[in-house]
Symmetry: C2
Subunit: 355 residues, 2 copies
């Protein structure tokens, strides 16, 4: 092991400002209520003042529970610019195909945007989303929470320091039993009009894809894929189960899978010429890091963080300091293009080059 | 966990005969000298009486070390039928592209054949190998040692018993740093005339491929692959590093990698609808089995075996009892066809169907 064993770079978002960024949360489903609202409460730099939902009952419940939340808006009211003085930034966590309209509205209102991944349902719509922010000159960040995870950032440092030698292969897995989690065949993740290209790669495969990019500091150049949907609830999406391979521009090859059918499991491994880095579980809230080299295995008991709190804290501090954001729209677009190519590859049975 | 926790089927080769099968070992390189000769010494049903090599020095050394070995033959002497009365069966462990000639000779001599995997350099030659044994009516078995491994057999029983539910995905990895192990750019595994289609899939990828078939009791129907050779020693073989996906006839999808470049590592995982089975390390001599289901992880400290001793014991008992062998030539041919398809897929960039 290198001398850098206890020396790595946490996300450097402490800029010392006392100001707080005021958020409108657009979409207050499971993720926003269970993770985002509580996370923002723990931050120094963020406060939720506004929530946006089609359901007055939902916004009312949030307003009763969180005293900082002054405004509950419908999507129309949000689009029409109600309560504009109450918030500085917009967090978008709605079905993929609705991101664009909300980001366009936020950009029109001159608000900074933190948009959930995948950015949109299609590359074309994601590009329009980026253009909307560029044209309005508002900051845009894509919410890759794994990039805030200390075990992931630590792994990246170790790989950069050469602990595994030259990266050679990646294995990534992200599997969950969707219908056991949400017992509804009409949920939006199974509706191509809302989810986009499909369900498991968009929703789950994006984790090994993006986290591998982050760990390797590399981008996809070529993909292949096989997909299969057997359950009738998945009749309109091709990828209840998918495997996909990615060749990165550093020459690393990745063999990945995503599944809305298999038992809950996440794992990401980078095999290098000298050793291995394994994140397992990888993509849930308790990431475990193990490094193997020269027959020695080191398990890191990295202090966990609230990934969403880190995400928001970083975003707020950067926006308030008018500093560049990572991951930006271009970074998110690269994933969208790779996912589109993975779907194209599965449909055609051919390798698809990303140029 | 099912009630079958401590109830599984070891390889059922104890047929109670006192007879011993006498072997000619063809090819006495590293594997034969380090693993096979010592393994045979520990068996009840096998004895090595004959060794065959181009090197008189090698055969002489074996004869001095093993007192049962009466004959050291050149390949020509073996082909010409010298010392035919001294052995009943032939074990072939030479470079892939030379299996055919030795198996043809063994078949002509009426000897039972235990042939190392992969069976030959190409499908066409492997088919000729099977035909040679069929035509001469001699038993043929392909030496898949992993099928003797208690951890693997145990995993198969657990999968059959439904411990992981319905299998959904497989992840398989087999990586070794070939040039660190054998520091010779002219070794036969890098010479397509001797190795066949390539190096890492033929030599290493065959392990996750065949072991997955064994665990799932399923056969490949469709493959994809990416390959890359960067080191100059690999200039004549396409797959210093490879990823490949396999769709099996039970609907399971596998994402696999093989590499002669990455650090030493082997792993095989079957993810089902209810849980996971993990073999890690998988393909070396100490296979570790872990099963995960319902948040519970069970580690099996399965008693290790000498896989080659088991292989030979099984083969001998079956041949002596005139009973069918598994894995037979057809079983081995399925791997050869899949490997050929994997190479075709990598070269064309297209999915290749196996019919």
């Amino acid at each position: 092991m290198s001398s850098s064993l206890f020396d790595y770079e946490p996300r450097d978002w402490r800029t010392g400002t006392d100001e707080r960024l005021r958020f409108a949360l657009v979409g207050i489903g499971w993720w926003t209520t269970e993770f985002v609202l509580p996370a923002i409460e723990t931050t120094e730099g963020c406060v939720t003042t506004t929530v946006v939902s089609s359901s007055n009952e939902k916004t009312g419940r949030v307003r009763r529970e969180y005293e900082t939340v002054e405004h509950g808006l419908t999507y129309e009211e949000f689009a029409d610019g109600e309560a504009l003085d109450a918030y500085d930034a917009v967090y978008v966590c709605t079905p993929n195909a609705t991101h664009l309209e909300h980001v366009e509205a936020a950009a029109e209102h001159g608000k900074a945007v933190l948009c959930e991944k995948p950015m949109e349902a299609t590359v074309e719509r994601a590009e329009r989303l980026v253009d909307a922010c560029d044209d309005a000159d508002v900051p845009l960040m894509v919410a890759y929470r794994m990039q805030t995870e200390p075990a992931v950032r630590r792994a990246r440092e170790l790989i950069r320091d050469g602990v595994v030698g030259e990266p050679v292969l990646v294995h990534g897995e992200n599997s969950q039993p969707l219908l056991e989690m949400i017992d509804d065949p009409d949920q939006w993740r199974l509706n191509p009009d809302l989810t986009g290209y499909g369900t498991s790669v968009m929703d789950l495969g994006i984790y090994p894809l993006n986290t591998a990019r982050f760990l390797l500091d590399a981008d996809p150049v070529r993909v292949q894929s096989t997909m299969d949907s057997t359950h009738e609830a998945f009749a309109d999406v091709p990828d209840q189960v998918a495997t996909f391979s990615v060749v990165f521009d550093d020459g690393t090859h990745a063999a990945c899978s995503s599944s809305q059918r298999g038992a809950d499991h996440t794992r990401l491994e980078v095999v290098g010429t000298e050793g291995r880095v394994v994140l397992e579980p990888a993509f849930h809230m308790e990431t475990q890091l193990t490094v193997e080299r020269d027959g020695e295995t080191v398990e890191f008991d990295t202090e966990g963080v609230d990934q969403m709190a880190e995400e928001f804290e970083y975003f707020a501090q950067r926006v308030l300091a008018d500093e560049p954001l990572y991951a930006d729209g271009e970074h998110g677009l690269a994933d969208m293009k790779a996912i589109a190519a993975i779907h194209e590859a599965a449909e055609s049975g051919e390798t698809v080059d990303l140029s």
